[in-house]
Amino acid sequence: MAVHCDGISKRYRLGERQRYRALRDTLTRAMVAPVRRMRRAFRHQAPGDGRGPEYVWALNDVSLEVRRGEVLGIIGRNGAGKSTLLKILSRITTPTTGRVEVYGRTGSLLEVGTGFHPELTGRENIYLNGAILGMTRREIDRKFDEIVEFSECSRFLDTPVKHYSSGMYLRLAFAVAAHLETEILLVDEVLAVGDAPFQKKCLARASEAAHAGRTVLFVSHNLLAVNTLCSRTICLHEGKIVCEGPSHQVTSYYLKDWITRLTEVVYSDLARAPGNEGFRLRRVCVRPVNGIPADPITVRTPFVVEIEYQKRDDRDSLELVVDLLDEHGVHILETWWPYERPVPSGLIRSWFTVPGDLLNAGPHRLRLSGAFAGCALPLLEDLLVFDVQDSGDLRGLYHGNWPGAVRPNIEWRTEQLGALSPGDDSPPI
């Protein structure tokens, strides 16, 4: 046994994580609370049981057992509680109720480079970061050369990391985290950052850990990676485990039932919409250029992605980043509204058109992220999920599977370079 969770729940007060409290607010609440409590008593209502509107249960009665050496995949939509689960297992936060037993040291690749200080050199940061991740100095000494080699940064070891390129920074950070030899390894979406070779390296390291008999808990939206890496997978939805079993079964179930096609999202309650005080999302949709969100999109039709939001101040910068992924989580494209371009305040719509003859047929997943006034907006995975349908033309007589991440209309030409002379076997050169 490596991990044993017994009915764990985690409750967050809405807004608690987004904003720190000022003393003023608490004082106001303290003054209002008795009045509210009196009013409630007057109406013979039970006092709040914590399930009222101002609370959310990020996890709700989750029980889980992970055997030693098992590689467990954790999938689910945004806000399903995946990250909260890992945070509880790595002790960063505590469950509101329930019991957790973890047998062994846990290491996490939740975020590489935590604790790196830009003013310190590469060498110094290896020691600092290693200590933060829980390595002893002797352990770091022993693995130092290996870490340096893995990071491919040996020439810059005595340069402050602020002069590193972002790629070098990431490689060094990952090298330290990857050499953390704990019995249990928690991996969360590291694969979302970095370039393709780096992602490959991450995956290789995770599977190495798995083969070495370590216990790995792997959270990802990359269903292909989950299928190849994990023997067993759980699917979380709204804080509960809704499906558990062999990975390929769970991922296909997830694709079929839990990624429901969603071509339009409207947040009617603005206060609870994603964003912060200055920026609130109102509506996001995808529709064919001349149509409504319910209309089908084919591989040939250009389509529009519309993002509507409320913005408080003209001066605040805004960056919106949209990523398109295929059903397995393969990243197809990214496009953005750059933060240098001003956006007026008010109710705003930003949109862009994706040309026809670009995407392949199949389900596509849209991810929205960005930054508002210099602060990252919450990453919204699978905000929209839409089908691109096969148009049927262009195929000729072929009716089989059309592989590939994209399907541009590539024009072929064939021309005759010379006529065959009678009795000649080879064409003239």
């Binding site: 000022a22 002790r91 509101t96 037993e101 047998y103 200080h117 200590a131 933060i132 991740l133």
Partner: protein, 293 residues
């Protein structure tokens, strides 16, 4: 929540070691307890060392004067106090030259105010660490306090030529000075635990801090001797643990005034109260830090 066993083992196995049977980590429902995770803190002593080392290393990066700032600040404050209070306002200085009187007090005061400020802001400044990795949170304010000892050491060494210039021979009692400095560290650590934990929840602390340090400065006998304080106020005045620290420090170095035995005893008692309260409050709040950040 109680962690019954150490999370990190001091000597990590090189390979995946079988840890059959005993759960290394047990997370239970949150609850309050007095238990400070001493054992866990001991296990992460290397982390405390590295964090302290980082704070020291980084502090004077990209400055022209570098570590000279550790001397400049207390020295100039002492000189300015000498000019305005010693020379113009004619504040008594217990028979010592006023600059000596002021600088010997500035050395422990600087230690205290720096340690307190750094500790109070430490948790918020290390937000990314707290929301991404687990380790006993107390390591952060602790290392912030330890880092300010370096400046204290530098400022303390400068005392030697300073006293020599005024032809003052250090007394034998000088050997007690580091212990009195330690008391200042404990006061700063205790108050820093309170303020850093409060700062996570209420960022008002950040704005109050400068103000608080200023008031504390005026309520401590740095710029004036305790003898100026009326007798019937003394009991209350002594509750400020820095009174005992500063008077004790002066006595240790200069032999001025009588041995501050009772004053130091009161200081130690209030320090113990502040520290115990700080440890308790911090320990209670520790689990919610990452949620409140």
């Amino acid at each position: 929540m109680t962690w019954l066993h150490a999370h990190r083992t001091a000597d990590a196995p090189s390979d995946v070691a079988p840890t059959r049977g005993v759960p290394l980590v047990r997370v239970n429902q949150p609850g309050s307890s007095w238990g400070v995770p001493w054992q866990e803190l001991w296990h992460c002593r290397e982390l405390v060392y590295f964090l302290t080392w980082r704070d020291i290393k980084v502090r004077y990066k990209q400055t022209i004067f570098g570590a000279a700032w550790a001397i400049v600040q207390p020295l100039f404050t002492a000189l300015i106090l000498s000019l305005f209070l010693g020379r113009l306002a004619k504040v008594t200085s217990d028979g010592m030259p006023y600059p000596v009187f002021a600088y010997t007090a500035m050395v422990p005061w600087q230690l205290f105010s720096q340690a307190l400020t750094e500790a109070s802001n430490s948790l918020v400044a290390n937000e990314r660490l707290i929301t991404k990795v687990y380790f006993p949170r107390m390591a952060i304010p602790l290392s912030a306090v330890l880092a300010s000892l370096v400046e204290f050491a530098i400022a303390f060494l400068v005392l030697v030529p300073f006293l020599a210039y005024y032809r003052i021979v250090p007394k034998v009692t000088t050997v007690t000075a580091p212990f009195i400095g330690l008391l200042a560290v404990l006061v700063a650590f205790g108050a820093g635990l309170w303020l850093s934990a409060l700062n996570v929840q209420y960022r008002d602390v950040r704005y109050t801090l400068g103000f608080l340090v200023q008031i504390w400065f005026l309520a401590s006998p740095v710029a004036y001797p305790t003898s100026l304080v009326p007798h019937h106020w003394r009991a209350w005045y002594g509750l400020n643990p820095m009174v005992g620290v500063i008077e004790g420090f002066r006595w240790a170095l200069l032999g001025s005034g009588e041995p501050p035995g009772p004053l130091l005893a009161v200081s130690m008692a209030t320090t113990a109260v502040i520290l115990a309260g700080g440890l308790y409050y911090f320990q209670r709040m520790e689990n919610s830090f990452s949620d409140l950040m």
